[in-house]
Amino acid sequence: MTLSRRQFFKVCAAGAGTTSLALLGFSPDQALAEVRAFKLARATETRNTCPYCSVGCGVLIYTLGDGSKNVRSEVIHVEGDPDHPVNRGTLCPKGAGLKDFIQSEGRLLYPEYRAPNSREWQRISWDEAFTRIAQLMKEDRDANFIATNEAGQTVNRWLTTGMLAASASSNETGYLTHKFARSLGMLAFDNQARV
């Protein structure tokens, strides 16, 4: 019986114990693949999309951790989704490094604040951040909101604070962000498509 790594993985996932399968002689052709299957067999597979270019390759993210409350799941592997009609399991050199993006040492871990003229960041709480940002926005909006223009036309715009939206955030985030920005009267509002 010849099994690809993926088929082997499916068989294992279907319930039969991997050890007994191997004893019965059901094993993938290559030992290397076998080791990987064992490792991934204990992992949770989640379907996702590469967040880099717009080919939108399907990826499979493998995590360890059983979902219990105090267990943090850990990403152990990312690979191309073989079922995806565009990339059919492949990833390019960018996508192949996705695990290093998720686990980059450049990831930000907590809200930070830099005071005027300071050389340093200081850690703050989310509530402090939201409170101070909302205060600054409101002060600026209340002071500079333009209800009517010189011609007396209703314009209801706020030009002194602007926003740039992301290029890789989800539609759900983008939709909410748009709703938020326009309700404030923002016009200085763009996304990465402009550049």
């Binding site: 967040p51 990831r107 930000l108 907590y110 930070e112 890789a168 938020f180 009267g185 498509a193």
Partner: protein, 815 residues
């Protein structure tokens, strides 16, 4: 993309120009390989660099950066003068026969209506001759000198192969070879696809370059066909989606537009955007604009949006002008702005002219950065030695840096280049205290709303009335938001032909935009996404990859906008009688028995429109057909014309050597002070162009160890001729300088960049990969936009990163 990634396999010819899919979109480029292997398709690459796309091409033609319109205009001239066009297609599906106003003119490089003071056109003469019936006057014989065909033929006759060679540097025989190969796809059963990216958009005339490409495709009858189309390879995973959702200064969701300040009357606002057909029997689908608009306002403002308050029309801000990113940094630099929020966007690296952006950010009172990574923008105030030589004590901006989740830590959908909305699932928890963007936006919004509720303030109405009915207001869930933009019925929606027939029950999700109403009975946040989450469930999450017709149309994989159509304008793949031009690659066809259009795709057409009734395939256009003549819709002219980049090695535009006003794009917007910041060829003799490498993604992957290992250090590329001239060998450190600043990098001397001789002068190209900066795990480097000019395309204001002037010198560097 009008088509989609897998559909590239249906092409007979692939033209890659203004992009480099093999390196920038590698897994999509595989479909070019597939077409070559299984259809014997041929690949043509036209590029200033011999890229890896060029390396596997059947034919490569070099071109000077910034001269694409001249090349394509020469191609149009070739197709017209050699009569290599798809006659039936252009006669029936384009504006070839439409008559243009008699006072429209083009003289000495300028269209009628130019104002040299404001650098703007009065576009009132750029229109059609209208008959008494209100329809455009046409001449089906195509003999009238004012018909679009005759005007276009005369306009492009000036672009001879000699002229193309003189502007582009492309050898005449190479140009003609490309023309010959492309002309073959004028046969009804042959298709060419054009794949382009920022190599076309990032020019002061980027929109017109793309238009010229589209005109070529129309002449050949390649729009709407499998294996055809105009295919923009978008640079980021959800730039398409964010644009679809209208996150641009002047837009609303689904390509609706915000009102200008003169548009005080709601009815007039709607009427202007709901054009009546310009020819008999045409659909002009934008006539449904009021349904789209009212449904969006119902989604945004819920019960507070009523017919009495024009659905909240005056809660929307009204435009004085477009506040695009260049305008915003201009205003910020002039001290006219106080606050800025950067969500997953790194403008210090991405916007042109770093020194101007840095100075502008320093004038802000507050800056909020929301990002998973430590971006340069968030540290613009920090001294990073030579790479960011600022003095923090002199920068008074308050900065907040808020950690957000990345793709692996959230549910949601992204729109790929092929317009597929693909759902993804959360795999892991975010690190530390990072939160997803929805929680962060909600966190700020709810605080603000509370302040307005308790303390009052400037015009609180839209803030207090914004619909925020999420189960956890502090954390709106992706599925709630997706249902909201997809749309639902607020009352029973009935069949317009039979009021007793209920199409959708009150409270149910809508099936598509055909069910939208303008009476407040439907709510839909983005009409083109309507139906993505219907009563059948989340269609974006579908994962059936079956391809019953064998041409790559996986209709049950995810959801494509609009209405799950995979190839736009697909009715144009059939002849006027409704028969496919190539039955072996059928997208749709008219079935006379059932009286409907059907096939491997969802018809981009009125499903029961009999071909005999003559409805045109371009249903969004009031003409019903595609336009060669853009009317008044482009800022810089109805026909594309070659102008030099704002920074060019040529003193004159070879097309208009005697008119300095027509040297560069006459309608480009240049701010006071930036004009002096353009370099001249005497001091900056080389053409520079920026690009990506296959190992890196923008400014993100320098934070990723494996990518940083394979491409650790900043470099620039120069050709062998320039290397020899300047005594530079591979590995030497060089300084590349523009009028705006300099970068230092290692030189790679390569055959991939060749020199041109233009006007008797050699012109060299300098290649500048963009991926370095002063944060991340790769070696620190200079932000490439230190060099780039602060000017954008006249229509979109996309900055001119693809052709500007630099000088190069070898330096001694102590490491």
């Amino acid at each position: 993309m009008t088509n989609h990634w897998v559909d590239i396999k249906n092409a007979d010819l692939v033209l890659i120009m203004g992009g480099n899919a093999a390196e920038a979109h590698p897994c999509g480029f595989k479909w070019v390989t597939e077409a070559k292997a299984h259809r014997k398709a041929r690949l043509v690459v036209v590029d200033p660099r011999f890229t890896r796309s060029a390396a596997v091409a059947d034919y490569y033609a070099p071109i000077r950066a910034g001269s694409d319109i001249a090349f394509l205009a020469g191609l149009i001239n070739y197709l017209l003068s050699h009569d290599r066009i798809h006659h039936e297609y252009v006669r029936n599906y384009t504006d070839f026969s439409f008559l243009v106003k008699t006072d429209f003119a083009f003289e000495d490089g300028l269209y009628s209506g130019y104002d040299a003071e404001t650098h703007k056109y009065d576009r009132s003469t750029w229109g059609y001759q209208l008959g008494e019936d209100g329809y455009v006057v046409t001449d089906p014989t195509l003999q009238d000198p004012r018909c679009v065909y005759q005007l276009m033929k005369a306009h492009y006759a000036r672009y001879t192969p000699e002229m193309v060679e003189g502007i582009c540097g492309t050898p005449r025989d190479a140009f003609l070879k490309v023309c010959e190969m492309i002309a073959e796809t004028s046969a009804p059963d042959r298709a060419m696809t054009i794949m382009y990216a920022l190599g076309w958009t990032q020019h002061s005339q980027g929109s017109q370059i793309i238009r010229t490409g589209a005109m070529v495709q129309l002449l050949l009858g390649n729009i709407g066909k499998p294996g055809g189309g105009m295919n923009a390879l978008r640079g980021h995973s959800n730039i398409q989606g964010l644009t679809d959702l209208g996150l641009l200064s002047n837009l609303l969701p689904g390509y609706m537009t915000l009102p200008g300040e003169k548009e005080q009357d709601f009815t007039a606002y709607l009427e202007k955007r709901s054009p009546k057909p310009l020819r008999p029997g045409q659909m002009s689908y934008w006539q449904n604009y009021p349904k789209f608009f009212v449904s969006t306002m119902k989604a945004w403002f819920g019960d507070a949006a009523t017919a009495d308050n024009d659905w909240g029309y005056h809660w929307l801000p009204k435009l004085d002008k477009t506040h695009d990113i260049l305008q915003v940094f201009e205003d910020m630099n002039a001290g006219r702005m106080n606050g800025y929020i950067c969500q997953g966007f790194n403008p210090l690296a991405s916007a042109p002219c770093k020194i101007k952006v840095s100075g502008a950010l320093s004038k802000l009172k507050y800056l909020v950065v929301i990002d998973p990574l430590a971006t340069e923008t968030s540290e613009f105030w920090q001294n990073h030695g030579e790479y960011n030589a600022v003095d923090p004590t002199r920068i008074a901006t308050e900065v907040f840096r808020l950690p957000s989740t990345c793709f692996a830590e959230e549910d949601g959908s992204l729109v790929n280049s092929g317009r597929w909305l693909q759902w993804h699932w959360k795999a892991a928890n975010p690190p530390g205290e990072a939160r997803n963007d929805q929680e962060i936006i909600a966190g700020i919004f709810l605080k603000l709303r509370e302040l307005y509720r308790t303390d009052g303030g400037a015009f609180p109405d839209p803030i207090l009335n914004l619909a925020w009915r999420y189960k956890q207001p502090h954390s709106p869930a992706p599925d709630e938001l997706a249902r909201e933009f997809s749309g639902r019925a607020l009352a029973d929606v009935t069949d317009p032909k039979d009021a007793t027939k209920v199409l959708v029950k009150k409270g149910e999700q809508l099936n598509g935009f055909a069910e939208l109403r303008d009476d407040g009975s439907t709510a839909c946040g983005c009409w083109i996404f309507a139906g993505a989450w219907s009563e059948k469930g989340n269609l974006m999450a579908r994962r059936d990859n079956s391809d019953p017709y064998g041409i790559g149309q996986t209709l049950d994989w995810a959801f494509a906008w609009p209405a799950n159509r995979r190839v736009l304008y697909n009715r144009a793949s059939c002849d006027p009688a409704g028969k496919p031009y190539d039955p072996s690659r059928m997208l749709v066809a008219w079935d006379g028995l059932s009286g409907r259009w059907s096939g491997s795709d969802i018809p981009d057409f009125k499903a029961d429109s009999n071909p005999a009734d003559g409805m045109g395939p371009f249903i969004m256009n009031p003409e019903g057909v595609a336009r060669f003549f853009a009317r008044d819709m482009m800022a810089d002219g109805p026909f594309p014309e070659h102008y030099e980049p704002l920074e060019s090695p040529l003193a004159k535009n070879p097309m208009h050597p005697d008119n300095p006003l027509a040297r560069s794009n006459p309608a480009a917007r240049v701010f006071e002070g930036d004009r002096e910041n353009f370099g001249k060829p005497d001091r900056f003799p080389y053409v520079a162009t920026t690009y990506r490498l296959t190992e890196h993604f923008h400014y993100w992957t320098k934070h990723c160890r494996s990518n940083a290992v394979v491409q650790p250090e900043q470099f620039v590329e120069i050709g062998e001729a320039l290397g020899a001239e300047l005594g530079i060998r591979s590995g030497d450190p060089v300084r590349v300088r523009s009028q705006r600043g300099f970068i230092v990098a290692v030189a790679v001397v390569t055959k991939r960049l060749r020199s041109f001789v233009l006007d008797g002068q050699p012109v060299h190209t300098v290649g500048i990969p963009i991926h370095w900066g002063f944060t991340g795990v790769a070696r620190n480097g200079y932000l490439a936009n230190t060099l780039t000019p602060f000017v954008g395309d006249a229509n979109t204001q996309t900055p001119e990163f693809k052709s500007f002037l630099v000088n190069v010198e070898k330096i001694q560097r102590v490491v």
